[in-house]
Symmetry: C2
DNA sequence: GTGCTTTTTGCGGGAACCCGCAGCTTTTTT
DNA sequence: AAAAAAGCTGCGGGTTCCCGCAAAAAGCAC
């Protein structure tokens, strides 16, 4: 039995190592990686079936690393060990987990027993182990009236990136008006208008930026999610520009 | 000699304790607090002159706790031990440190020797110890052309909160146009216009939200800074409303 | 004081945003 | 198949935002 740890913080890494060796005596080989790319590499080379990783890492996010690992070996069991239960992370993970894979999500605040139990359940019984708190977020996100659906979440990201309505329309293949509709729904669900009705015609908030801010407070967005969204935006911009060049007839005039 | 540790994460706390006891044998009493308020309390009761604290904590930020402690006993030496060197934190600290107090800022990624040396220098020699990286941020923040000055930083926060131009003007006692001037400078410094000049009249970005996003990427803002800004905004709203009520003549009609 | 820079303010207009209304298409329900 | 729900689209207009231009106002040298 082989296990791989991916964790950048040395303090946490040594703690993790301690936990794993004591909870899993049947583990014969234990690898450690200090960042995502290195972890992918090790998993690939040694055909590792059990991974524990941190979600927050510089360079390559845990989510990105997990995506790569699962693409190559979808049966890998991955335990995410994270500081936060932000909706951005939870969403990110549910988006990439293969539907027959076993995985777990444990908060770093969990007790040692809890962590060790999770390790055994997941790696030996192949049973999913999701922290209570995370479950809560997962469900809340699916609530029809409280949570945002994928489309709303998409525009939320887009405006958080700073895109214009017109650009969003272009990117998502929609009309301008449709984008604005989505935005209205978003504003509705985030209760952007709270306390704002005060007598005066004075609007207190710019809805667009206020929505982003509220989303940050509610942990619907976080900075790593935005960083990732930014690189996807860059990709899109690139291919759009390429398409524009091809479409444009050779200019002679 | 008495030392107080304020750190919420148990793993880091035990590590810190280890470091302190080995680096400071002259330390006779060592207190530990798991959150800001508790730390303030202990510092007050026991007249502690040397504190080590984490910056990122739930409930009460390290910065808020430090503010309180320094207000009561400005000669206290405080070592901030933090995961990040975000400009938001650095700014926050320089804003509150008494001008004759000794303090330090060490990143959690620093080596054990580094940390121990810092502890001795600060608590025994009363000498400020600032991490290289943090220094870098500090200087960059003061650069006339790259960094934001306080006024620009202020509007940045305000738009990040989602305020309207008009509201910002009201809050900061400025004319509408002045606010917009500040915003223009801000956009300039953040290079919001990059690559945007492409031939078409199509603006790619909404400058306001784009600026916020870029600021997040550059760590000029972070979520805890915004949370704090939000409560200050709430305060202002409250007193503004109170003022409005007093100003309004008793309505009879 | 006179000059100089920096900051603040007003005016005006083009663009973007927010959104009610109404018609159209697609999906879901019955 | 008919009805209902949900989503997409265009139109129009009220508001806010972004910013160039230019004139006061404040700060700072000499």
């Amino acid at each position: 039995m082989k296990i791989l740890l991916i964790e950048d913080d040395p303090v946490h890494r040594s703690f993790l190592k301690e936990m794993v060796t004591s909870a899993m005596p049947e583990c014969q080989q234990l690898w450690e990686a200090t960042q995502g790319a290195e972890g992918e590499q090790l998993a690939r080379e040694h055909h590792i079936a059990s991974v524990v990783m941190d979600l927050q890492m510089p360079q390559k996010t845990g989510i990105e690393a997990a995506k790569v690992i699962w693409r190559e070996r979808p049966e890998t069991a991955i335990l995410f060990w994270s500081n936060y239960a932000d909706e951005a992370y939870v969403r990110g993970i549910s988006r990439i987990v293969p539907h027959d894979a076993a995985y777990g999500y444990i908060l770093k605040t969990a007790s040692e027993e809890h962590l060790q139990l999770a390790l055994r359940s997941l790696f030996i019984e192949q049973q999913c182990v999701i922290d209570r708190e995370v479950r809560g977020v997962q469900q809340q996100a699916q609530d029809r009236h409280f949570g945002l659906n994928d489309l709303e979440y998409e525009v939320l990201q887009d405006i958080a990136l700073g895109l214009t309505d017109r650009m969003i329309a272009q990117r998502r293949n929609l009309s301008l008006r449709s984008v604005q509709n989505r935005l209205q729904q978003l504003y509705e669900k985030l209760h952007v208008h709270e306390h704002d009705h005060e007598q005066t015609a004075n609007q207190m908030f710019n809805l667009r930026t206020r929505a982003v801010h509220i989303a940050m407070l509610r942990k619907l967005l976080n900075s790593t999610a935005l960083q990732q969204a930014e690189v996807e935006l860059a990709k899109w911009r690139q291919q759009r520009q390429a398409a524009a060049l091809n479409a444009a007839p050779p200019i002679h005039k």
